[in-house]
């Protein structure tokens, strides 16, 4: 077992100006929003340029980091004093944060480029790029901050960008509602994160990651550490759409597809995993909290997979899949240092193959007049080969086809989980089998089988500005996993930031353990079943009624119904009662009293003389209550 390295104060070099990563896209957003219509012509190019600029800074910082000794690779420096005596805003460039920065700016830039084509007919394209830039800036602030307050600013910043982008087509009531729901559900998680931050502050007197080492956290009581862990986890559940705060993600598909790819698949929704890994010093000292993390992960990976099995909307299918894959990452993150590298590794490969598939789905929708129902697709392979091939590469990666990216990272999580707790391990294997089914179903329904197109559909391949990002992402979906996992390359690279487990597992090119074989068998069975149902057989253009289970999955496991019954309805009643009480109760009671005392019967007429009496009484009433309470308290 090896603890993370200490953070070294840094100055100079590219890392010294790494804040440019945040500043460039922020500047882009500001120019595009303040510049207004004048920037319409070139706004999208500016957006792309700012994102690419951030990517260049990230790559150069990464190379500078690689040039240092491993135990010197955590570089921190202060930017400015934020709340005097409590917290300064500063940067932390270490293997963990730079991995995220590369993913965010790399995949982010590809999605910016793709969006130039995808949004070319939208009259608000400039605003779209402004929001995308804002998102990139906030997400980088989240991962590059050296303390919990900076992280929280980025955390809610990405929430804002997500809100703006889900509701980008705000004239559609469904989009506006989905955006609002995402923000509010996330705020529930943020509430947990806030209280977690408060507890860290009052317990340890610092909010800087550099101060909160394993040594420091080890001194706190088990109860406090567990509380901190669970509170941070609540925050993570909100942002990463984990149970019980998952309900917003499926609705978030109302946003334009590049948004779903960037924010609701590749980057923002993984922030919860980042938070858990970054807070390893708390979780590793609180086994109960860790156990809850793994349970949440497994529950969500199964729930997401089940939802994915029943969706006919291609984006919602992918959203269920995203939930499920983040469940895997969460499971890995709950396993401590042994799982971190796989969790983050899977996060990165997932960033590639899921963005790949979302953009592929966007390309299909682009070709099919924005149709999202897979029952209206079919036989698209011949008409859009690049989209189809890249999508299938992503598909093979996600189901864990041997030697592709997802195989290595997901298999790593399953193996580690199995090692840790067999029940968790086997449930994760089961999830992999479900993944094999629902992803195969999606591919067969979309690209193979018979045409079920709408009459006015004339599918065609998308322009190069959209297909090139697909190709690049597909390459990542093929090779990135092997590159990261083989030779424990990523685990070693990450170790100064997150530590190393006591027993570093031997990585293998092709595993033959019982778990690996069972996974492969189940995936193959799932794929075969999907072929039988959706490839070989005729797919009805209208969804059949389906069994109770299908309905259960289609209705998102009744998550919304549950929220409505438990929270929304009682909330509405509470609001109504409170408003009634406030309008009639407080004033009305007083008015009634005044009427009674004044000897007038019936309704009190609103005349000026009545006011004086009624307010006098109202105030006296309030004051008497307060004084009475004071005296009562005083007597005890």
């Amino acid at each position: 077992m090896q603890s993370p390295a200490e953070i070294v104060p840094h100055s100079g070099g590219v890392i010294g100006v790494s804040w440019l990563m945040i500043a460039l896209p922020l500047l882009g957003a500001a120019i595009l929003l303040l510049g207004g219509r004048r920037t319409n012509k070139w706004g999208h190019f500016l957006g792309v340029a700012m994102s690419l600029g951030a990517f260049v800074v990230a790559v150069l910082s990464f190379m500078e980091l690689l040039g240092l000794d491993p135990d010197q690779r955590r570089r921190g420096f202060e930017l400015f004093e934020f709340i005097p005596g409590m917290v300064n805003l500063g940067m932390l460039i270490d293997p963990l944060s730079i991995s995220f920065a590369l993913l965010i700016t790399g995949v982010g830039s590809l999605i910016h480029i793709y969006s130039v084509g995808y949004m070319s007919h939208d009259r608000d394209r400039r605003r779209f790029f402004a929001y995308l830039n804002l998102f990139v800036a906030a997400m980088l602030l989240l991962v590059l901050s050296d303390n919990y307050v900076g992280l929280f600013i980025g955390w809610e910043g990405v929430g804002l960008a997500s809100y703006l982008l889900i509701g980008f087509w705000q004239h559609k009531p469904s989009a506006a509602t989905a955006a609002q729901k995402a923000f509010i559900v996330n705020r529930v998680g943020d509430f947990g994160l806030l209280i977690g931050i408060f507890t860290i502050w009052t317990t340890f007197g610092s909010l800087a990651f550099g101060d909160l080492t394993h040594e420091v956290t080890g001194q706190a009581s088990q109860g406090t550490l567990t509380a901190i862990g669970l509170l941070l986890l609540l925050g993570a559940c909100g942002k990463s759409a984990q149970l019980p705060l998952q309900s917003w993600l499926l609705d978030a598909m109302e946003g334009p597809t590049p948004v779903s790819a960037l924010i609701h698949a590749a980057t923002m929704v993984t922030a919860g995993v980042y938070l858990v890994v970054r807070s390893g010093a708390f979780f590793e000292a609180a086994p109960t909290a860790q156990l809850v993390v793994t349970i949440v992960g497994v529950a969500t990976l199964l729930a997401g997979a089940i939802i994915g099995c029943a969706k006919d909307d291609i984006k919602k299918g992918l959203a269920g899949s995203t939930m499920s894959q983040i469940g895997y990452m969460m499971l890995g993150a709950g396993l401590g240092p042994a799982g971190y590298a796989f969790a983050i590794g899977h996060l990165i490969t997932h960033g590639f193959f899921k963005a790949n598939m979302f953009l592929g789905a966007g390309s299909v929708m682009h070709a099919m007049n924005d149709e999202v129902d897979m029952r209206r697709y079919g036989a698209l392979f011949p008409v859009m080969k690049i989209t189809a091939v890249t999508f299938i590469v992503g598909y093979l990666a996600i189901i864990g086809f041997p030697l592709l990216s997802g195989y290595y990272t997901k298999e790593g999580i399953i193996e580690t989980a199995m090692h840790h707790n067999a029940i968790l391990g086997w449930l994760a294997v089961l999830g992999a089998g479900l993944t094999g089914f629902y992803m195969s179903r999606m591919v067969f329904m979309t690209f193979f089988g018979k045409k079920r197109w709408a009459d006015d559909a004339h599918p065609h391949e998308s322009p190069a500005v959209m297909t090139w990002p697909l190709i690049i992402l597909a390459i990542g979906s093929i090779g990135l996993g092997a590159f990261l996992v083989l030779g424990n390359r990523f685990m070693t690279f990450l170790s100064p930031a997150v530590g190393l487990p006591a027993d570093v597992p031997e990585p293998h090119v092709f595993g033959v353990g019982p778990a690996a074989l069972a996974t492969l068998a189940l995936v193959a069975a799932g794929a075969a079943f999907a072929w039988f149902r959706y490839g070989a057989a005729q797919v009805p253009a209208l969804a059949p009624r389906g069994s109770f289970l299908t309905t259960f999955a289609r209705r998102d496991l009744y998550g919304d119904a549950l929220n409505e019954a438990l929270l929304m309805r009682p909330g509405q009643w509470l609001t109504r009662i409170a408003v009634f009480f406030d309008n009639r109760g407080v004033d009305g009671l007083v008015n009634g009293l005044a009427a009674g005392i004044g000897g007038t019967s019936g309704r009190l007429r609103r005349v000026q003389t009545g006011y004086v009496r009624s307010y006098a009484l109202s105030i006296l009433f309030g004051a008497a209550a307060v004084v009475g309470a004071l005296l009562y308290v005083g007597n005890i």
């Binding site: 709340i83 004239h171 007197g205 004084v627």
Partner: protein, 518 residues
């Protein structure tokens, strides 16, 4: 240089000038009022840069005998807390003048729609009243003589009463009377307490610095505390003294509502911090549990009732009741972070609620209705207006990166240092805030454009000048609260010392470890 007297004299002279203009020179009156308020702002800036945060607590002191037989003085001076609140007033007034350009004119579109709005008084009177009010707002924060404070505290009501009662909406006289009566009753209680304080202290003075520590008897402290506190609780207003605010704010013209909620109500929370805590430290500690409970109830209650509102201005008023709960909680949490946060909150809330009321005012001017249901899809026709409303709203829900986040965070974390459970309950306010703001935004701005909204014009030049400085302040203070906190912190230190409280800021275990290593 008698800075504070000049700051009060300029707007008073300006008000006289505006009032003396011949009939029909409304435009000139507005321009003159704007010019005067800008001069006050410039003077305030000039004064503020000379303030040394780590110097004496009270600076720019002036003290003259006023009624020598009772030891009443004209005593003014500022500490860091009073300074930032005076600065807030000086920044808001020119913005409000600019925003109120058409509010006082014979008939706005709001009046055209409603049947029975009595004719308004002349526009120049409105702007003269605004300037008088500015002088009094500066005076109430600057007063170091408690009797002088009381005089300003009551006198402030007069211009505001006329601004609501003569320029407000349909039910303006109802709202104005309600406002006046609530405030007068509170003031009366305070007057009794002020006189009792003078008698009991036996110092033959009303000067605040000399009265600190003068009352030792715990029972006396409690009664005097109650007198002051109830007056301040009505002013702020704290739950359950709040029912006058939604009526007053909804009926007042938008500009007056900004000054009412943004500045006048802060006198309540400012008074708690300055007078209740420092003059009656034992009583403050005794009553803390009660005040914290009232504050937390107010946070939640205000937010829930806000969610259920159908009128934009009432909704904003209820959000403020929730926010005043945060401020009072911060004041009585008795920690450095919470009190500095509460003071910063008073400033930030002024900008944030100011922006919300003013943008809502622009909407209401266009549509002639404050009902949320009368809008829909504004974003499609007036994107800038919608954007300004969104930013104002986001600052209202304390989005990080905007000013109110810093203060809310400090209040909550500072309260948590001493009282964890109230802080946790209070923090649920962040969820409720998201609901009331975003729901209002969605219902007014998103969705298909409602028929009467289709003709909306976007923000014009004047309106942009109203919104821009507010948003600039909200964003700048969101990332750089330090300049304000550096001014506020020493004054809060002094407050805590006089309130005989030791801060509960956690000791960094890290520092201990490093210290031990040396």
């Amino acid at each position: 240089m008698p800075w504070l007297s000049i700051l009060m004299a300029v707007p008073v002279l300006g008000a006289v000038g505006v009032a003396l203009l011949p009939k029909g020179s409304d435009k000139l009156a507005k321009q003159l009022a704007l010019a005067v308020s800008l001069v006050v702002l410039a003077l305030t800036v000039a004064m503020a840069v000379q303030f040394s945060p780590n110097g004496n607590r009270f600076q720019f002191e002036e003290k003259y005998a006023w009624i020598p037989s009772f030891g009443v003085h004209y005593g003014v001076a500022v500490d860091g807390i009073a300074l930032v609140l005076i600065a807030l007033s000086a920044i808001l007034v020119p913005i409000v003048v600019l925003a109120s350009w058409h509010d006082a004119e014979g008939a706005t579109r709001l009046d055209l729609k409603s049947e029975a709005v009595p004719p308004k008084r002349s526009a120049k009177t409105y702007f003269a009243l605004l300037l008088v009010l500015e002088a009094m707002m500066i005076g109430v924060f600057a007063a170091t003589d408690i009797f002088l404070f009381y005089v300003f505290f009551e006198a402030m009501l007069i211009p505001m009463y006329f601004m609501i009662g003569s320029y407000g909406g349909v039910q303006r006289s109802y709202a104005a009377v309600k406002f006046l009566l609530y405030s007068l009753f509170g003031g009366l209680l305070m007057l009794v307490a002020v006189i009792a304080l003078y008698v009991v202290a036996e110092k033959n003075t009303f000067m605040f610095p000399e009265l600190v520590g003068a009352i030792q008897d715990p029972t006396t402290q409690k009664w005097l505390f109650a007198g002051f506190f109830i007056a301040f609780a009505i002013k702020a207003p704290l739950w359950p003294f709040h029912t006058w605010l939604p009526d007053a704010a909804a009926q007042a013209p938008a500009g007056a509502a900004v000054l009412l909620v943004g500045v006048l109500d802060k006198v309540g929370t400012y008074g708690m911090l300055r007078f209740c805590l420092e003059l009656f430290p034992d009583a403050s500690k005794f009553f803390t549990p009660l005040v914290i409970v009232l504050s937390v109830v107010g946070i939640i209650y205000g937010a829930i009732v806000a969610i259920g509102q159908t009128d934009m201005k009432r909704l904003i008023a209820y959000t403020s009741i929730s926010h005043f709960g945060f401020i009072a909680m911060g004041v009585f949490a008795m920690t450095q972070n919470a009190q500095s946060g509460a003071t910063l909150y008073m400033v930030n809330h002024g900008f944030s609620t100011g922006a919300l009321f003013l943008v809502a005012g622009f909407l209401i001017y266009r549509r002639g209705s404050a009902q949320i249901a009368d809008y829909g899809g504004v974003q499609s026709v007036a994107p800038l207006l919608a954007g300004a409303f969104l930013i104002a709203g986001l600052s209202g829900l304390s989005l990080p990166g905007l000013a109110p986040f810093v203060s809310e965070f400090m209040v909550l974390i500072g309260t948590y240092e001493r009282y964890a459970v109230p802080a946790i309950i209070g923090a649920t306010g962040v969820i409720l805030a998201a609901i009331y703001i975003l729901w209002m935004y969605k219902r007014t701005m998103n969705g298909p454009t409602a028929e009467p909204v289709k003709g909306f014009t976007d923000l014009n030049g004047r309106e942009k000048w109203v919104v821009a400085p507010l948003i600039a302040m909200i964003v700048a203070l969101g990332f750089f609260p330090k300049p304000l906190l550096d001014v506020i912190n020493p004054a809060v230190d002094q407050t805590l010392t006089n309130a005989q409280v030791t801060d509960k800021q956690p000791v960094s275990t890290v520092a201990e470890k490093k210290g031990a290593g040396q």
